[in-house]
Amino acid sequence: MARFFSRKDPSKNYLNKAIIGLGAGLVKSRKILNLSFGPQGAMDILSIWIGQELAKELLTQKKVKAGASEHELISKLLDEIRLAEDLTFEEVEGKSTITIQNCLVCPKRVGGYDLEGETACPVGGILMGALTYIKGESPSLPNINLKPGEYCRISMDITP
């Protein structure tokens, strides 16, 4: 098990705020956009692309190497993007479970928006996009299961 911590840094808050705005906007506009799978479905797709772009930038800036381990990548993402103050990465029988405490991109908890019973969590998608990009071409989709709550649990099967 590995536990990663990152601290709030107001000088680097812009990306966090952009992601919060995106989530809140998807919830508020879900009816006029006629989102087939709700705001969470839209956020899943968009955040996978965001994760891939973040991984590309980490590679470009030589912050991670191609083929980096999940641990390395998550650690670096938290350093650079600060998705959460506390993220635990646990691997049991080939299944990786990520538990997020004090998420820093939650439209509800951090942004203070009323999500009207919806969710728009980008964390699973960002991690999936980044992990699959770093793994190389034609990656398989990891299975993601989000259980929202005070502490959000995201189970990801990222077994190669």
Binding site: F37, Q40, D44, I45, G117, L141, N143, N145, L146, D157
Partner: protein, 81 residues
């Protein structure tokens, strides 16, 4: 022996409402099965191809099967062997 098929035990609307926070692939599978079932695994794979293109990540059969099995256990769909 023919391939098993999968059918919904609740409507697609109910399934999507219940699984609001589920990942989009789970929702796409539930919608396909609950709206159009009975479907084989291969039918479901064909219906998730547009999603594969939208996210740019491969969706393989074992991943689909794992999600289907999860919803069988939860009683949202059933398998007809």
């Amino acid at each position: 022996m023919s391939s098993p098929t999968y059918s919904g035990l609740i409507s697609a609307e109910e399934a999507l409402e219940r699984e609001k926070s589920a990942f989009i692939l789970d929702k796409a599978i539930l919608r396909a099965i609950c709206e159009e079932g009975p479907l084989t695994l291969e039918d479901i794979r064909i219906r998730t191809l547009p999603l594969e293109a939208a996210i740019g990540v491969k969706i393989d059969l074992p991943t689909l099967q794992e999600i289907i099995n999860k919803y069988i256990k939860q009683g949202l769909i059933w398998e007809n062997k």
